[in-house]
Symmetry: C2
Amino acid sequence: MSSEELSRNTGIHSVRLRRILSQLGRNGLVQSNRGLAGGFTLARSPEEIHLQEVYCAVETRKAFHLDVTRNDQGTAALSGRVNGFFLRLFEQLQVEIEESMSSITLADVLRNTMQQEE
Amino acid sequence: MSSEELSRNTGIHSVRLRRILSQLGRNGLVQSNRGLAGGFTLARSPEEIHLQEVYCAVETRKAFHLDVTRNDQGTAALSGRVNGFFLRLFEQLQVEIEESMSSITLADVLRNTMQQEE
DNA sequence: CATATTTGTAACTGGCACGGTTACAATTGA
DNA sequence: TCAATTGTAACCGTGCCAGTTACAAATATG
């Protein structure tokens, strides 16, 4: 399907779609073809594409983002230790999230959204 | 402790601290006093303050944010069903996160960050 | 080969959220 | 009365993100 056709079906502008899809292509999730009758196809079958891959390919920063770069030189070493505590906590949550997303494939999504199609 | 003193200890500007702390006050987590020798104190003991409360008091939007308002009127009903799928998924993840944060109190944070103080 | 179509990407713009800053009214203890 | 402190409004600058335009590169078709 071409980015224009996808744009018509989703309401998302074609340039943005191309940006996202080329990102997915760089991570080996979709295959793109230029020229006449070009467009995008899945690089693997839906059963082999996990949400976690899609998410990581598109989103640069983690779901749980914490800015800890500041105050490392700061007044009290306590700040650094509190920051460390939350870094570890958020890291754990991040792992849980990624595990959830790793267990879901694109095929699962299709099954759950297209079953009662008329 | 006054916002000025907190600012000196954390490097965070006092106005921003007051904004955050007054928000926490509105949610009953800290107690504020104006005037000479005023400042902020915890409204409850650290054992009774859970991270989830602090997080919810300060952060308006959920940790997992998804914009699903668009395309509801859209071309294909499929969009809506896919959106619904991810809404449910993210809701589950949100619940997991909040459960993790509910199990940690401010006292836990203090225990983990101040034990090897010299 | 010529042409039309499509991807990939750069460049610019506008909007929005957020933090920093200044300022000041309201409160309160000395 | 006065100084200190919270609470909050107003404004500014910055950075990020999506939208938009434009165009080179690639490619199928005739």
